[in-house]
């Protein structure tokens, strides 16, 4: 019974909303508001074909490459800066300024430097994803518990083990928070880098539909982008649960007290 109620609550509103959309738009003759039925019908033809291989998958691949590069760079640099108070003092205002620049604004510059190919798109993604990861890592490393630091010192835990446990894992809640923000930005930039001036990709395709007035296809593109966002968020959450299981555990215990 409880399970039914839970499922009911989870699906209720979405089902109602979709139904409203379906019936409100059924039989629509408005060029710009096709019926949901039409849109759903256009979905398979539009995406489950060569476009999946030629546009969607490469877009996702670029996102993955850019995101991972930003992670590695961000965590690496973040550790260095976070562990060194003087370096941090020198670099912090500069970083605050650079991170305040809305990433899409760098797209024209990167187009100048790198053209309109894959390199540009990956650079755009890195340029946006780097900052939340970097700054959060710096914060996380800064806030390492001093009792833990003393423990490592007296038990002579040094080198790789120390970096891994005292720095990376200790800062991981912060790092993951940064990684989450970076994911949202990465998706936005993946799309923008292709919408703005490109020759292939998911965002590019959707803009092509718009320019060619193929409206139902355009809608399917919008929906696909939405679904992508949701799917990636879900994947992230699953990964986070594994990495930060201990952290959620502690918070749960603290809440009880």
């Amino acid at each position: 019974m409880i399970v039914l109620r839970k499922i009911g609550l989870a699906l209720g509103l979405p089902v109602v909303l979709v139904a409203i959309w379906w019936f409100a738009s059924a039989g629509s003759t408005d060029f710009y508001f096709p019926s949901l039925e039409k849109i759903v019908k256009a979905f398979p033809d539009t995406w489950f074909g060569p476009r999946m291989v030629n546009d969607v998958l490469p877009s996702l691949l670029r996102l993955a490459i850019g995101y991972v590069a930003a992670l590695v760079l961000g965590v690496g640099l973040g550790m260095l800066i976070g562990a060194n108070p003087r370096l941090r003092a020198v670099v912090e205002p500069l970083l605050e300024f650079l991170r305040a620049i809305p990433p899409p604004v760098l797209v024209p510059i990167l187009i100048l430097i790198a053209g309109i190919g894959s390199t540009m798109k990956i650079l755009v993604i890195i340029s946006g994803c780097l900052w939340p990861i970097l700054l959060n890592t710096v914060e996380g490393v800064r806030a390492v518990d001093e009792v833990l630091t003393d423990t490592c010192r007296s038990y002579r835990i040094r080198g790789g083990l120390r970096v891994w446990h005292l720095m990376v894992r200790s800062a991981s809640p912060q790092i993951v928070a940064g990684a989450r923000q970076a994911l949202s930005i990465g998706i936005i930039l993946m799309v923008i880098s292709e919408m703005f001036a490109a020759s292939s990709g998911l965002g590019y395709t959707v803009i092509q539909f718009k320019d060619g007035f193929r409206i139902p296809q355009m809608y399917t593109g919008v929906i696909l982008l939405g679904l992508l966002g949701v799917l990636l968020a879900l994947l992230f959450r699953l990964a986070e649960r594994r990495v930060l299981g201990w952290y959620h555990g502690i918070r749960a215990v603290q809440k009880e007290r």
Binding site: D145, V147, L148, D150, T151, R153, S154, Y155, R156, I157, R158, L161, R162, H165, R169, S172, W246, Y247, G249, I250, V253
Partner: protein, 257 residues
């Protein structure tokens, strides 16, 4: 085994000079159990940290096993008061105890043996796979003690380790630490603010004065080696010694005013 010679620690911040430790000298023989007590704020923790090599003294020296201390010395383990912050929350209990051994490069078989033995001796043989935050405060401190035991130190420093646990747990832990000490034969310096505890546990009680901190008295505890919470604490000699320490500490507190 351990010698503190004319130790002084002065903090010079923003024009204010704070003398945490005035001049402290004492030595500890091999295998001795020494307790250090003093009024609040007399620099007990600072003293311990200087001995542990975590804090450089302003003047004076600490020698462990004949060698001058310039950083955390080999074969010395510290058990901190804040057990929650000293254990790694992302590691299970067994891995926490294991980590310093890994850092020391011991082979896996040997490490497993030491870890199992240590956890058994503190009564946590069943807790190998738990996370520290799933355990009670007393049990967490036992894990910290187990970690110190497995490390096989020659000198063990404990900084008010039972201050943050409830009275009943404290009694259990006191007996535990005495049995561990007798079994391992380590040299033990135990800092506490609990006067009764210091007399119950130690072979000697070193009483610190208030600022400028120095050794007010070095009292030998001539109670029998076999101590028992009920019997020893009702022994008239215990009451005498305890009264002596209490009077000394009161004197130290009044001198401060």
């Amino acid at each position: 085994m351990l010698a503190v010679r004319e130790l002084n620690k002065t903090y010079d911040t923003k024009g204010r000079r704070v003398e945490a430790i005035g001049e402290v000298s004492f030595s500890v023989a091999d295998g001795e159990f020494v307790c250090v007590v003093g009024p609040s704020g007399c620099g007990k923790t600072t003293l311990l940290r200087c001995i542990a090599g975590l804090l450089p003294p302003t003047s004076g020296e600490v020698h462990v096993e004949g060698k001058k201390v310039t950083g955390p010395p080999d074969g010395l383990a510290v058990v901190f008061q804040e057990y929650g912050r000293s254990l790694f929350p992302w590691l299970r209990v067994a891995d926490n105890v294991d980590l310093p051994l890994r850092a020391a490069g011991l082979p896996k078989a040997k490490r497993n043996e030491l870890v199992a033995e240590a956890l058994e001796s503190v009564g946590l043989a069943d807790a190998h796979h738990a996370y520290p935050w799933q355990l009670s405060g007393g049990m967490q401190q036992r894990v910290a003690i187990a970690r110190a035991i497995a490390y096989q130190p020659r000198v063990l420093l404990m900084d008010e380790p039972f201050a943050a646990v409830d009275a009943q747990t404290r009694a259990d832990l006191e007996d535990l630490i005495r049995s561990v000490w007798q079994r391992l034969g380590v040299t033990l310096v135990f800092v506490t603010h609990d006067i009764d505890e210091s007399v119950y546990l130690g072979q000697r009680v070193i009483m610190l004065s208030s600022s400028p901190t120095s050794v007010a008295e070095d009292l030998t505890i001539d109670l029998p080696a076999e101590r028992d919470q009920l019997a020893t604490r009702s022994d008239p000699r215990f009451t005498e010694l305890r009264g002596r320490v209490y009077a000394q500490i009161q004197k130290a507190k009044q001198e401060r005013q």
